[in-house]
């Protein structure tokens, strides 16, 4: 059975290489909805980041939108702000154009950057697969390191009061100088609209 799985694994989307926990988090400099460029260095006081690949158009991303807003509200003051990046190619997904991103950030009063990923550079560097896809990044003495990747929680339908909040748990661990107990999860989401896919 294991052999079969390994066999099947070799085929699937070799071109998307999702960065694993422990890997260095690539630094990016991308245009925000206010036309200013944003990078990790825009937040000199930050201890880390909640990098969220999300978009305007995906129902799962929309279902999680308020939770992203809440994460920023809770953790930005503690040194872990949200940086949202739209990974979709606007030619393939009209609703994710820079103009539409501006509209959404404005109407939903995003208090965090919502970045346009020209040429899907950051999307491909991180290997973002779907929306929403989260990377919790910690600032260490040896640079920016991915500490967690995957879903916000295990309750997309908001029906389980006993849900596990993976991102919150990861940041709480980092605040205690510990490794997150869960460093990687999966979730059903909308595949990133990649050019040439």
């Amino acid at each position: 059975m294991l052999i079969l799985f390994a066999f099947a694994g070799g085929f699937a989307n070799a071109q998307i290489n999702t960065l694993a926990p422990g890997a260095a988090a690539p630094e990016f400099k991308l245009k925000n909805v206010d036309n200013k460029e944003v990078s990790f260095n825009s937040f000199p006081q930050a201890k880390g980041f909640i990098v969220v690949f999300t978009c305007n158009t995906c129902p799962v991303a929309k279902a999680y939108e308020q939770r992203v807003i809440d994460l920023n509200e809770k953790f930005a003051p503690l040194g872990y702000p949200v940086i949202a990046i739209n990974p979709n190619d606007p030619d393939l997904s009209e609703g994710d154009s820079f103009e539409k991103m501006k509209e959404r950030a404005h109407s939903k009063k995003y208090a965090f950057p919502y970045l346009y990923d020209e040429g899907q550079w950051a999307t491909n560097k991180y290997g973002a697969r779907s929306t929403p896809h989260i990377f919790v990044v910690g600032k260490t003495t040896s640079g920016y390191v991915i500490q967690y990747t995957g879903a916000i929680d295990n309750d997309p339908e908001m029906e389980n009061p006993q849900k596990t909040k993976y991102v919150e748990a990861a940041i709480t661990a980092l605040q205690n100088n510990a490794r997150p107990a869960v460093t990687s999860t999966k979730a059903i989401g909308c595949g990133v609209r990649r050019k040439s896919s």
Binding site: R129, P156, K186, I188, C190, G191
Partner: protein, 161 residues
């Protein structure tokens, strides 16, 4: 009289099939049991959702595959991962509206962390995704298909075993 009634009933039944599928709920165990029964069949299992644009776009290609090759040697199963709570409000109406002829199910599993890996460890959970199975051979692919690329996968797994 009874015979007549039976006749009318069966007519209704045939008509229901001709108009399209009635989607049902399906657990992974039920799916595996189904796959075990058809060792000579190429199963093309597409994971999709009513809210997934690229999935909806490629559904006609799966329908075409089912129509042209669904003679018992190739079996298309369309498995929706829509929220279970939207089965009646989204999935059933979608299948009806689009008159889908392939078999349609809603995956009756709640724990994504568990079921995604069981379907394939290489699956990130992003949609669409398709699993090709014939006997012990399987191939999983995340991403979209065109009709020619779909046919190619079916041929490949058919000739491998």
């Amino acid at each position: 009289m009874k015979k007549l009634l039976l006749c009318i009933l069966s007519l209704f039944f045939v008509k229901a099939i001709a108009l399209g599928q009635r989607p049902g709920l399906l657990t992974l165990d039920q799916l595996n049991a189904r796959l075990k029964k058809g060792k000579d069949t190429v199963f093309v299992i597409n994971f999709w959702a009513t809210w997934c644009g690229p999935c909806v776009k490629e559904l006609p290609d799966f329908e075409r595959l089912n129509k042209e090759y669904g003679d018992g040697r190739v079996k298309v199963l369309l498995i929706s991962v829509d929220f279970i709570s939207t089965f009646r409000t989204a999935v059933v109406p979608f299948v009806k509206k689009n008159k889908l002829k392939s078999e349609v199910f809603l995956l009756n599993e709640k724990d994504q962390q568990s079921y995604i890996d069981k379907i394939d460890p290489s699956w990130s959970g992003s949609l669409p995704a398709t699993l090709f199975i014939k006997g012990e051979n399987r191939k999983f692919k995340e991403g979209e298909f065109t009709y020619p690329s779909l046919l190619k996968e079916v041929q490949t797994i058919k000739t491998k075993s």
